[in-house]
């Protein structure tokens, strides 16, 4: 999948989601899930995502189990849980096998989404590790000044709220610096180019054809 064009990966994710909405057979959904996990393994991402996938599995199980007391058939409940899992894994698969800058370029040039919106998405991801590091630093500073983190969930929420203020102030300063950086580097120019290769190759067209055939088959069989 890493060799496919980003838009092709995006289409694959969308098509899998459509199939998932249309299918109610737990066996077929399980097969779809197995295929996704196989693709993740081929892409070398299965190990990295194992923890997240296990968490997702537990949520899906819970989602299925919570329906049983309401006279929902076991097969339907299992299918619901599987649907949720298949759709989420499809998103994970797309993100794990597509370079985000390439996806941004595809969204802007091929889907015609304004660059500013696509940039907002990537820059949010860019600063996520920084915000997490800052949140740790703020909490460490609180501990250094005698704050004891309670095990009471309500008190923990209050403690998090106390760390929000310095983080927001820092974020505002950051956004100023970033805005200056963008200004200096000509952000917002009309004739922007992209260095990423996003053009469709033969394999992408073949994949799109395959996706169309499967989608048609799923609709007909239903």
């Amino acid at each position: 999948m890493k060799s496919l064009a980003p838009l092709c990966n995006l289409l694959l994710m969308i098509m899998v989601s459509i199939w998932t909405v249309l299918l109610w057979d737990p066996a077929l959904l399980a097969l779809l899930l197995a295929l996704e996990l196989g693709l993740l393994a081929v892409a070398g991402q299965l190990g990295k995502l194992a923890k997240a996938l296990f968490g997702l599995f537990m949520v899906a199980m819970f989602f299925a189990a919570i329906q049983l007391p309401f006279d929902v058939a076991v097969a339907t409940a299992v299918a619901s849980g599987l649907k949720m899992m298949v759709m989420t894994v499809a998103v994970l698969l797309m993100l794990a096998t597509t370079r985000l800058p390439s996806l941004t370029a595809a969204l802007v040039r091929q889907v015609r989404i304004p660059y500013e919106y696509a940039f907002m998405f990537t820059s949010a991801l860019r600063f996520m590790p920084d915000f997490i590091a800052e949140s740790h630093a703020v909490r460490e500073a609180q501990v250094c000044r005698g704050y004891v983190h309670s095990k009471n969930p309500l008190k923990r929420i209050v403690a998090y709220a106390a760390s929000v203020e310095p983080m927001v102030l820092r974020a505002i300063t950051r956004s100023d610096t970033m805005a200056m950086s963008l200004e200096l580097r000509g952000f917002g120019s009309v004739n922007r180019t992209f260095s990423q290769q996003i053009a469709f190759q033969t394999r992408d067209y073949l994949m799109v054809g395959f996706l169309a055939l499967v989608t048609a088959a799923v609709i007909v069989c239903r």
């Binding site: 590790p129 610096t177 200096l184 952000f187 004739n191 992209f194």
Partner: protein
């Protein structure tokens, strides 16, 4: 020829009112200039004015003008001035906006609509020049502070500016990282002829590479000129003299006793001359 010229330039930020006060200054092409002064003396504003961010980005009131490579910054868009002047800000981490090293350096070229087939070569050359070759696919979150600083320099150099401005570039670096960065900047200055302006508190780091110094105080240029002349005046006129490195103080103290030394650029040169001076003093006292 001057790379940057401030002509009686005054500026006030919209809210605080502080800024620059009747600054007249000339930065020669190909020079390595260190701007120093206390916190709030106007160093950062001076750097921002060279890029046009002051006044374009901040607004506020101004008079006089700043000429960069012959262009008045007030008459040009910031992105156009950035083709001549590259700025590495003090908070260089927030200056970086992309997810990977390659995309960070390519960002300005993409915005400038450089054809895609030319971008790769220019990005690789910029990364090579700052010693980050081979890290193109590395995510920014996986870089060290020193590497991020170098990346910020590369992301500016890729636009091939004639002037490189760095605002307190070593404030977040360890001594080794700071020394490496100054070696890099000095090499760019020496080999590529890039005019360098560095705002810096720690003069001992910058002086081995600098040829001129500007001392700011309360938004004004207190002293400006060739390195040794300004250092001597900083001590004699007690203008931000606490910042003068100890070796330079020692030299000044010895020179008041009629001893003459050459213009030291490194601690090694200083040690050699002081040793020679001590030996001659000892010989004189023995013969007496």
């Amino acid at each position: 020829m001057e790379a940057v010229r401030f002509e009686d330039f005054s500026y006030q930020y919209p809210k605080t009112g502080q800024g620059l006060d009747r600054v007249t200054l000339s930065v020669p092409q190909g020079s390595f200039t260190v701007v120093t002064g206390t916190n709030g003396s106007g160093k950062t504003t001076l750097c921002l004015a060279m890029t046009g961010l002051v006044p374009h980005f901040f607004g506020g009131a101004m008079s006089g003008r700043v000429m960069v490579e012959g262009y008045n910054t007030a008459d040009r868009a910031v992105a156009d001035t950035a083709a001549n002047v590259g700025l590495v800000m003090e908070d260089y981490e927030s200056q970086l906006v992309a997810l990977t090293v390659f995309d960070e350096v390519a960002f300005a070229l993409e915005n400038a609509a450089v054809p895609a087939h030319l971008i790769r070569d220019r990005v690789l050359a910029a990364l090579e020049s700052v010693g980050l070759a081979g890290l193109e696919e590395r995510e920014l979150s996986a870089l060290s502070g020193g590497q991020k600083q170098r990346l910020a320099v590369a992301s500016v150099l890729v636009s091939r500016p004639a002037i490189l401005v760095l605002d307190e570039p070593t404030s977040a670096l360890d001594p080794e990282g700071a020394a490496d960065l100054y070696e890099l900047i000095a090499r760019l200055n020496r080999e590529q002829g890039i005019t360098v302006v560095v705002s810096e508190h720690d003069l001992a780091r910058a002086l081995p590479h600098a040829d001129s110094v500007v001392v700011m105080a309360a938004g004004r240029v207190a002293l400006a000129g060739p390195l040794n002349e300004v250092l001597t005046r900083m001590l004699s006129e007690q203008v931000y003299d606490a910042a003068v490195p100890s070796l330079r103080r020692l030299k000044a103290a010895l020179e008041t006793e009629q001893r003459q030394f050459s213009a030291w650029m490194t601690a090694g040169e200083a040690a050699a001359e002081i040793n020679a001076c001590l030996k001659s003093t000892r010989r004189l006292s023995l013969s007496a």
